[in-house]
Amino acid sequence: MKKTLQIINQLVEQNVITEYAIAGGMAQFYYIEPSATYDLDLIVSIKDEPNSLTPPAALYEWADKNNFPTEFEHIIIGGIPVQFLLAYNDLVKEALINKIPVTLFDEPAFLFSAEYLMAIMLQTGRPIDFERLTRFITEAEFNEFKLIDILERNGLSEKYNDFIKRINE
């Protein structure tokens, strides 16, 4: 993963992307016990941002030019399939602005905070998100005040209260 992070950081230096944060499973496992995952999700921003629901074409052009293979929507970087996504809604945009700097494998990197990951899991709402959110509540260290603030501002408080009620039944 060291090599993968080095190349991702180079993408910022080369201005292919302006910023990034690790999201999805690989960010969640920074805070909780790991389970199987198969890709590294990156939320990125790009200068002339295209439609946030389409994969960023500039990155695929970069991959092609620099001989990085692609597999479906993933670009294989340092042996790891990386999925680049643009911030697709206000909550994810806010999470990207408030990303936290960390050091992984002796490389600088950015990832979503625990509180934003929890809010995104709640918003996305697939069974796997609820399973991981339950683990966050029991395993992760997070700031409850920060979480409540994010949930309130993004209209997710009621959904969170229902979720907490369900896991305590």
Binding site: M1, F29, P34, Y38, P81, F105, T138
Partner: protein
Amino acid sequence: MNKKYISKAAESKIKYHRSRAKMPYEEKFRIIIELQKIEAEMMKSNKSRTNSRIPRVWEPE
């Protein structure tokens, strides 16, 4: 089984997972690859899943 024993067991399980959550990221990364290998083997030997794509096991450089 008495209730006290069950709640004590549940409590110690939570403690265990909480301590596992604190392990270094690099160690977690190693575990993820081991889990990918195990899952890929299971998928290969599961004949009812022959049509589904077996996810790529990471080969970090």
